[in-house]
């Protein structure tokens, strides 16, 4: 987990109060930082947010929420909104109980090891909870009626960390455990091994009475269909891109382009509304990619004495090979998610399912 230093934090705090007009007076580096912090709650994001809140409510019957979407669609922004909503919703409870930590958020542990490291996952959870003495944890065993502790002289064991994580999450009354970039959980795991990993995560959510949110690309879809039990307790929340050809999507995308254009900290604002169809193509309908592209173009414009031009914007677009790789991933994912996402269920689907299973030869 990365930690931002105090100067960044103070800058971040300041940026919240900076208006687009004030941003014109910022230094070059701060202009870029300010633009990076600009966020918009566009209709698709707000729809996913609403679905997420419905699913993460206690008693909704969902243990694990898989939040999937194409890369650059705005999942991390969504995560920030989720966090802010949660904070504002639980403000009173947090003030009355200073030990209450409603959500734990961190990036999936990618430690460089060949397989997923449970130790790193538990350490991340404990770090997020602010647990002291993470490397001195012990597990508890009962031998012949004697309750004994079990530790290692060289540090702590994975079972001790697991035990400590559960105790910590329960003690802090955590409601949500969000793992961003959760793809490392799948690394080098297939079949039973993958199922075991998911069972362990589901059990963690169950024991601690929290909702586990895994955020990532469409790769995560395979987690939800490992077996019937997981399929029942797991919900998939799709965060799709805006599509070319859908009139409503095109209008929203154009609005977003205009909004971002207005927030570019430049004295002469470019007219990007006209370029909206082209930008929608180049950014594959993803707002995150659009913002990254504009950030790169802004950086180039600042270097060019604050003069924006369409050539600079063109230089900032994604290269063809990158676009191809992203598009392939998006199309595969969209194909897989069609019948799996939350809200795709309908009445009288059983006949079709039986038919398809018979065709596959899975059912006699």
């Amino acid at each position: 987990m990365c930690h931002t230093n105090s100067s960044d934090e103070s800058a971040q705090q300041d940026f919240k109060k900076v208006t687009p007009k004030d941003a014109l007076n910022l230094s070059a580096s701060n202009k870029l930082l300010w633009f990076e912090k600009v966020r918009f709650l566009h209709p698709r994001l707000s729809e996913v947010l609403k679905n997420f809140e419905a699913m993460s409510e206690r008693g909704s019957g969902t243990d694990i929420i898989l939040l999937v979407g194409p890369t650059g669609v705005g999942k991390s922004t969504l995560k920030k909104y989720m966090w802010e909503n949660l904070m504002s919703r639980l403000q009173h409870e947090m003030l009355t109980d200073p030990g209450f930590i409603p959500a734990v958020v961190f990036n999936g542990p990618a430690s460089g090891e060949s397989s997923f490291s449970w130790r790193t996952l538990y350490v991340r959870i404990l770090e997020a909870l602010g647990d002291p003495l993470i490397h001195r944890k012990h597990a508890v065993i009962v031998v012949n009626g004697c309750t004994l502790t079990q530790g290692s002289s060289h540090g702590t064991t994975v079972s001790a960390l697991h035990h400590a994580s559960i105790r910590g999450l329960i003690a802090h009354k955590t409601l949500l455990l969000m793992i961003d970039e959760a793809a490392p959980i799948l690394r080098n795991r297939h079949g039973d091994s993958l199922k075991n990993a998911m069972d362990a995560l589901r059990s963690l959510a169950n024991v601690c009475g929290l909702s586990l949110v895994l955020i990532g690309s469409y790769d995560l879809l395979q987690l939800a269909i490992l077996d019937g039990q997981l399929a029942r307790r797991c919900s998939i929340l799709d965060f799709p891109r805006y599509r070319k050809g859908a009139a409503e999507d095109e209008v929203i995308f154009k609005n977003m382009v205009c909004n971002l254009q207005d927030h570019l900290p430049l004295h002469e604002k470019p007219r990007l509304g006209q370029l909206s169809p082209e930008l929608m193509d180049e950014c594959l309908g993803c707002i995150g990619i659009l913002k990254d592209t504009l950030s790169r173009a802004l950086s180039l414009a600042i270097k060019n004495d604050g003069n924006w031009s369409n050539e600079l914007l063109e230089r900032a677009l994604l290269p063809k090979a990158s676009k191809k790789a992203i598009l392939r991933e998006i199309l595969d994912g969209e194909n897989n998610i069609r019948n799996a996402a939350f809200g795709s269920g309908k009445f009288n689907q059983l006949g079709d399912i039986e038919k398809s299973l018979r065709e596959e030869g899975g059912v006699v």
């Binding site: 802010e84 958020v105 997020a128 003495l133």
Partner: protein, 443 residues
């Protein structure tokens, strides 16, 4: 990159400041069965799945580290020692420190700190862990076992709820010293063997006098004196002065005779030059038939005139209520390994130890002999084990080219084999000398 989580103590952007440690609310606040600070500390360490000694070392700050040369054994058991709950710098330092870290207020109620300036420090807290197995059993079924402050207050010898004597010894006989490192340290487990303290028998029914004292102290723990901790403006001195002024029959001599102290002691308490012990305050409250709170807060309004001419009859020395039953129980105790001491048995049966010795000489002799044999065998075994460890450490040092000395062996072995007693020191010095002699011979 993590977006929200910033610092190592759970402080996060957009989140109000969190407490550094989990705010662990004490059990039984406002009742006689309030939790003790020791128990609260053990439960806190359990939440973090660390040894309490480790947590103690981690949380210790210069302000509360009163004793500089603290030994390793003390670090691993400080919460068990009487000064952790007593009117002491350790207790006040720790309560303040834990209040800051957990944001739980008024932790001083979990110690006897609210009585500071009202009673003498001496002997208020029992120097061993005590408990009521029935209370533990009840609490385990409800899922919230904890150690009560009431059990640790010396004048209290019985549980007012279950009307049995408190227990201070596990089935294992508390024989292992130092305690096993692997035992889970929680209020409901034995620190020596790790067994549950709820299933310990046989329990002995406590007499009414013991229950009365427990009730008196219990009332004090839920009184405003404990809940609000007011500053001691009025004290026992005011109580005595005003009671003696309002009750003409009250004289220094009569009170001293009833309480079992010297007349000058009562005079000193009355003048406010000395403070009485909690045991004496309990006797004062019983004498004037009022609450402990009244005595300690100098309020004699509810004090009644003692009946001086009818003193309670002293128990006849050597008298035993049910000798057959007592013999049967003593034989049961004889089967324990090791059996309890005569002093402990006397306390359990409510008789003087010498009564057991005189009335049942054969059983008493066998009890004493068996206990001595078991204890000496255990002591010999422990010393042999330690001597072997010292010799091994001395040889290891010599092999590494380091001259073996007692200090180096002590450092090498750490707290596992402490060198406290003279016999340990001698044994360690001998082991070092032996290795040195063999080295000289070899050269």
């Amino acid at each position: 990159m993590a977006v929200h989580l910033q610092s190592g103590n759970g402080q996060v952007e957009g989140m109000p400041p969190r407490s550094q440690l989990v705010p662990l609310m004490p059990f039984g606040v406002g009742t006689p069965y309030i939790e003790s600070l020791s128990s609260n500390f053990l439960r806190l360490a359990d939440i973090y799945c660390v040894n309490p000694g480790t947590l103690y070392g981690y949380l210790r700050s210069p302000e509360i580290n009163i004793k500089q040369n603290i030994s390793p054994y003390e670090i691993t058991s400080v919460w068990d020692q009487s000064h952790f709950l007593n009117i002491s710098n350790t207790a006040s330092g720790w309560t303040k420190h834990l209040e800051e870290l957990t944001t739980v207020r008024a932790l001083d109620r979990l110690t006897i700190l609210p009585l500071a300036g009202r009673i003498a420090l001496r002997g208020v807290i029992y120097n061993q862990k005590r408990w009521c197995p029935l209370c533990h059993e009840e609490a385990i079924t409800t899922g919230a076992p904890y150690g009560q402050l009431l059990w640790q207050i010396t004048p209290v010898t019985a549980c007012p709820k279950h009307r049995v004597y408190l227990v201070d010894r596990c089935q294992c006989g508390n024989l292992r010293w130092p305690p096993r490192k692997q035992s889970k340290l929680l209020p409901q487990f034995c620190k020596f063997c790790g067994r549950s303290l709820a299933s310990i028998g046989p329990l002995i029914e406590a007499p009414l006098s013991a229950i009365g004292i427990a009730n008196l102290v219990g009332e004090l723990l839920k009184s405003t004196l404990f809940l609000n901790s007011p500053k001691p403006i009025r004290s026992v001195a005011h109580f005595l002065r005003e009671a003696m002024a309002s009750i003409p029959s009250c004289t220094l001599n009569k009170i001293a005779e009833r309480i079992g102290v010297g007349t000058c002691d009562i005079y000193n308490w009355k003048e406010g030059t000395h403070l009485p012990t909690l045991g004496s305050v309990v006797k004062l409250a019983s004498t004037f038939d009022c609450s402990l709170e009244s005595v300690l807060s100098g309020n004699p309004l509810k004090a009644k005139e003692p009946i001086w001419l009818d003193p309670s009859p002293k128990p006849q020395r050597g008298a035993v209520n049910n000798p057959d039953e007592m013999v049967k129980q003593l034989k049961d105790f004889l089967a324990e390994n090791p059996p309890p001491s005569l002093a402990e048995l006397g306390r359990r049966f409510g008789v003087h130890p010498s009564t057991i010795r005189h009335r049942f000489p054969e059983i008493a002799r066998r009890l004493v002999d068996t206990r001595t044999q078991v204890r000496s065998a255990y002591t010999i075994k422990i010393h042999q084990e330690r001597a072997e460890a010292y010799a091994f450490a001395a040889e290891s040092l010599a092999i590494r080219g380091i001259r073996p000395t007692r200090e180096r062996v002590r450092e090498m072995l750490g707290s596992k084999y402490p060198i406290f007693l003279p016999i340990d020191r001698e044994s360690c010095t001998n082991a070092c000398d032996k290795v040195l002699r063999s080295l000289r011979k070899a050269i």
